[in-house]
Symmetry: C2
Subunit: 178 residues, 2 copies
C-alpha cells in the first residue's frame, strides 16, 4: 500500500457524465409503482426499489424530479410496489413510456380490497404505507412500510428481469456463475 | 375493473417470510462500500446501492442493523462505493463474509489521495460525502453526495454482476431479451 500525496480536486472532481456512466452499467431489478393521492392513479417503472429491513418490513426507492408521477407518489398515503419478472417486460416498458395513458388497457390492472390500483400480472407485489418522503436534490427518497404482499411463485418458476445499460435482461441457468 | 368488498387484514396481512420471499427473487447489482470513521477501515457488500440524481450527483444505499460495519459507515464523513463487475465476484464474496479480516490481503486495496481506503480492482468506484443517515427500523438509509469517480471501462468491456436468490449471475448477450 502506498500513500500518495493529496491531489487537487480540480484533477479528480466529478463530472455528471462520469457519475451517470458509472451507474449506467450498474444492473438493477425492475419494479412498477402505483399510487393515487385522490386525483386518479399514477404508475411508473423504477429500478431503485430495495428492501431495507424484514422486521419491521421496510422498503425504499427514489423518484426523479423529472417524473410526472413523483408529486402524486410523494403525497399518497399508500403505494403498491410490483417486482417484475421477465414475463412482464411489457409492463416495465409501459411504466417507462412518457406521454401516454398508462391505464388505457383496463385488462392489465385491477383494484385491491383496500382500494389501491395494482397490476395483478406482476411476479410479486407489496402494498405499503409511505412513512417518509425525503427531498434529495429535487429527487425524493421514499421509505415504505409493507402492509400486505403477494410474494409470487416459487423459486423454480421465477425468471427475473434486469435492467442494464438501457437494455433488458433475464436471469437463468445460462447466466449463473456461482 | 371490479371493486371487491374490503377484506379483513387478518386474511391479507404480511408475514416477514412473505416480504423476504418477494425480495429474495428481486435481482440487484452488487457494490462494495468502504469507510473509516477514524478507527480503521470497514468494508461490506451491498445490493441496495442506487443512483438518486445526476445533478446534483447523489446516490443512496441501506445498511442492515445486523452488519458490524454499519455504525462505522454511519459515522464516517466519506465513503467509497465500488460498483462490481462479474470479474470481481471474489471481492463481493469477501465483503459478504463475516468474522474475517477483510483487509488481510493488502494486494487488493490501496488508498486514494484523499486518504480513503478503496479497492482499485472494482469496475467503477465513486467517492462521496455522507449527507444523511436516516434510521429506518434499526437499519439505516444513507444518502451520499458524489465527490469524485472512476467510471470504469467502456460499455463493450463490461460484464455486470447480479445477485439473485442467493446466487451470482453475469449479464451478456446470452441474457439480453430487449
Amino acid at each position: 500500500m502506498t500513500m500518495a500525496p493529496p491531489a487537487s480536486l480540480t484533477e479528480t472532481s466529478l463530472s455528471p457524465d462520469d457519475f451517470t456512466a458509472a451507474f449506467r452499467h450498474h444492473p438493477a431489478g425492475v419494479a412498477v409503482i402505483t399510487a393515487d393521492a385522490g386525483r386518479g392513479p399514477v404508475m411508473l417503472t423504477a429500478t431503485s426499489v430495495s428492501s431495507v429491513s424484514a422486521e419491521p418490513a421496510l422498503l425504499m426507492f427514489s423518484l426523479s424530479a423529472h417524473s410526472s408521477s413523483t408529486p402524486t407518489i410523494r403525497r399518497a398515503e399508500t403505494v403498491v410496489v410490483h417486482l417484475l419478472g421477465a414475463g412482464q417486460l411489457a409492463l416495465a416498458q409501459l411504466g417507462a413510456t412518457s406521454g401516454i395513458n398508462r391505464f388505457a388497457d383496463t385488462s392489465l390492472w385491477s383494484t385491491l380490497p383496500s382500494g389501491d390500483v395494482y397490476f395483478p400480472g406482476a411476479r410479486a407485489w407489496i402494498r405499503g404505507r409511505v412513512l417518509t418522503s425525503m427531498d434529495a436534490g429535487g429527487s425524493a427518497i421514499v421509505l415504505v412500510e409493507a402492509i400486505e404482499a403477494s410474494p409470487g411463485e416459487s423459486a423454480d418458476e421465477q425468471v427475473p428481469l434486469v435492467y442494464h445499460n438501457r437494455a433488458w435482461h433475464e436471469l437463468g441457468d445460462h447466466s449463473q456463475i456461482a
